[in-house]
């Protein structure tokens, strides 16, 4: 659906993205991650034909974004960062205008606008001025706008930024539902959201792709794949030293909580050392009140990948 080849964008003085190449297949939900200033918005703006790349090519639904920009744009629903909207229009009026502008046939406009209002939960505010809407509703108007012409592809630039947890959940469910019929490329900072919704993830840093895989594979590959947490009464023994002797433990940090001690073990990739830790505790007759495995999250992957460069 999206095919990007060697895309480069240079601004005066610095390079925003370097030699980006990736593909997004039909029906995929692709998460686009990276620290602020990594080039996410730049890439999305190029894909939406808002600005041309310095070099490289990209196609959307088979149409070149530069040579056949109009057709490419017709197949695309784009929601820009911060959702710019005309504050002096009413919700229905704005969506009617956008639908007509995007070439929805005249007799189908009210049907389509009704559908997207229903889908995005805008029925209650349809007669309100956009300028009077809360951030959450503005976001939904932006999403409804992106959907109104039934595009094959949705590009959403931080669709959940600035929303409260309930709204984030609603938008996430909405995106997951949309993923059944649409191809989606979305950027976000909220990593658990990506883990829950995306079928593949691209991590970009300083204009280059650092990783591109399914969330599961990314978690698998990461070196510090989580760890084990033990809370025990170890008496006068040095618990941390004993725990470090277990093969597979990389390091241990201990915190004291009254007579209890909490040990956080970082372990080698893929290892589950809970059994060994339990054996040790049983041998030493430590009283144990917690023994859990902490799974690595996408956050760990993100931090590791984007920090490796800085070090």
């Amino acid at each position: 659906m999206i095919k990007v080849e060697n895309l480069t964008k240079r601004y005066a003085g610095h390079t925003a993205i370097k030699d980006l190449s990736f593909e997004v297949g039909k029906g995929e939900i692709m998460g686009f991650l990276g620290p602020n200033g990594a080039g996410k918005s730049t890439t999305m703006r190029i894909l939406s034909s808002f600005m041309p790349p310095t070099s490289g090519r990209a196609t959307i639904a088979g149409y070149d974004i530069f040579e056949q920009s109009l057709q490419a744009r017709a197949h695309l629903g784009y929601m820009p960062e911060n959702v710019p909207l005309y504050n002096d229009m009413r919700v229905t009026e704005y969506l009617d205008y956008r639908a007509a502008l995007k070439g929805v046939p005249h007799r189908r406009i009210s049907e389509r606008v009704g559908d997207v209002k229903e889908l995005c939960g805008l029925k209650d505010v349809e007669k309100k001025l956009i300028g009077a809407l809360s951030k959450g509703y503005r976001q939904r108007v932006g999403l409804a706008d992106a959907l109104v012409h039934e595009p094959d592809l949705l590009i959403l630039d931080e669709p959940t930024s600035g929303l409260d947890p309930n709204q984030i959940r609603q938008v996430r469910d909405l995106i997951r539902n949309l993923g059944k019929q649409h191809t989606i490329l979305l950027s976000t900072h909220i990593l658990p959201e990506v883990e829950m919704t995306c079928s593949r993830v691209i991590i970009i840093n300083k204009g280059r792709i650092e990783a591109c895989d399914t969330p599961e594979n990314l978690l698998h590959e990461i070196r510090t794949a989580g760890g084990v947490v033990l809370e025990a009464k170890v008496g006068n023994e040095n618990g941390a030293e004993e725990l470090k002797k277990i093969t597979g433990v990389r390091d241990v940090t201990a915190t004291v909580d009254g007579e209890w001690q909490r040990f956080a073990l970082r372990v080698e990739s893929g290892a589950d050392l809970r059994e060994e830790v339990f054996r040790l505790a049983a041998d030493r007759r430590w009283a144990v009140r917690e023994l859990t495995q902490r799974r690595a999250t996408l956050e760990d992957v993100f931090v590791e990948i984007t920090h490796a460069d800085d070090a």
Binding site: Y11, R45, S48, S49, F50, M51, P52, L70, Q71, R73, A74, L76, Y78, P80, N82, P84, L85, Y86, N87, D88, M89, Y97, R98, A100, L101, K102, G103, D145
Partner: protein, 251 residues
């Protein structure tokens, strides 16, 4: 073509969403009303050799207000979209740059024409009350309104260009106000500068809106200003289109 009309409709309607439109309307009608009244009272006092309609379209007071309205109606055209960021949603929809430029130009022009419609009433009321014609002939009406339309087109296109150059509406308004004022008052140079050759005077006359108005409001339909203003408008719109496209490499 349909997209052009969709854009045009939004542009025209957007004028009436904002209080600026009503302020401009009220201001313009007030100035025109005062102008009409003072001219009539003057003509009441003494014999003159021109008609009511000629008097209305040829006084300095009126021109002053006229020059002021263009920055007000054109400053927001592009500058507001740049400022709000709505340019991003606008230009990622499948529309062409020239459709946007023309829609904004004609949107402002339609609003400008709407400003003028109530002034037709003045002459109608005058004729009803005094039972005398306000103008020497129908061609005089045609000539003066044609001149207003031509000059309006040119000044609106200057406003479009000023607005596309900046995201600050005030800056856009100042640029267009300066350019329009300079153009307009350059036509007065021949009145101020006494010691210029007749050739220079004639040359300045070609560009003088005041002289052209004098001719057209008598009902002499001169094609020279038509060619001048239509071609200048086209030049301004081409420049606007170029400047609008330049956002792509300036970003």
């Amino acid at each position: 073509m349909r997209k052009f009309f969709v854009l045009l409709t939004r542009e025209v309607r957007s004028y009436f969403y904002s209080p600026v439109a009503y302020i401009v309307l009220v201001f313009f009608l007030f100035v025109c009303g005062v102008q009409f009244y003072t001219q009539l009272s003057f003509m009441n006092g003494q014999a003159v050799s021109y008609s009511v309609q000629e008097a209305f379209f040829n006084s300095v007071f009126f021109w002053f207000a006229f020059v002021l309205i263009f920055p007000l109606i054109t400053m927001r055209l592009f500058a507001e979209e740049f400022k709000l960021g709505t340019i991003e949603s606008l230009m990622t929809a499948p529309v062409r740059d020239w459709q946007v430029v023309l829609a904004k130009f004609f949107g402002a022009l339609v609003f400008y024409v709407v400003l003028w419609i109530p002034t037709l009433l003045y002459f109608a009321i005058f004729q009803v009350i005094t039972k005398q014609p306000a103008a020497s002939s129908a061609g005089a009406y045609l000539g003066s309104y044609l001149m207003m339309l031509l000059l309006g087109m040119f000044y609106v296109s200057i406003g479009c260009l000023a607005s596309v150059l900046t995201k600050n509406q005030i800056v856009a308004a100042i640029i267009s106000f300066c350019v329009i004022t300079v153009h307009f008052f350059s036509g007065l140079l021949s009145f101020i500068m006494r010691e210029i050759s007749s050739a220079t005077r004639q040359l300045l006359g070609y560009f003088s809106a005041i002289e052209q108005m004098g001719t057209l409001s008598r009902g002499e339909i001169d094609t020279r200003p038509m060619v001048l203003y239509i071609s200048m408008t086209i030049v301004m719109l081409v420049l606007t289109h170029q400047a609008f496209q330049s956002r792509k490499w300036r970003l």
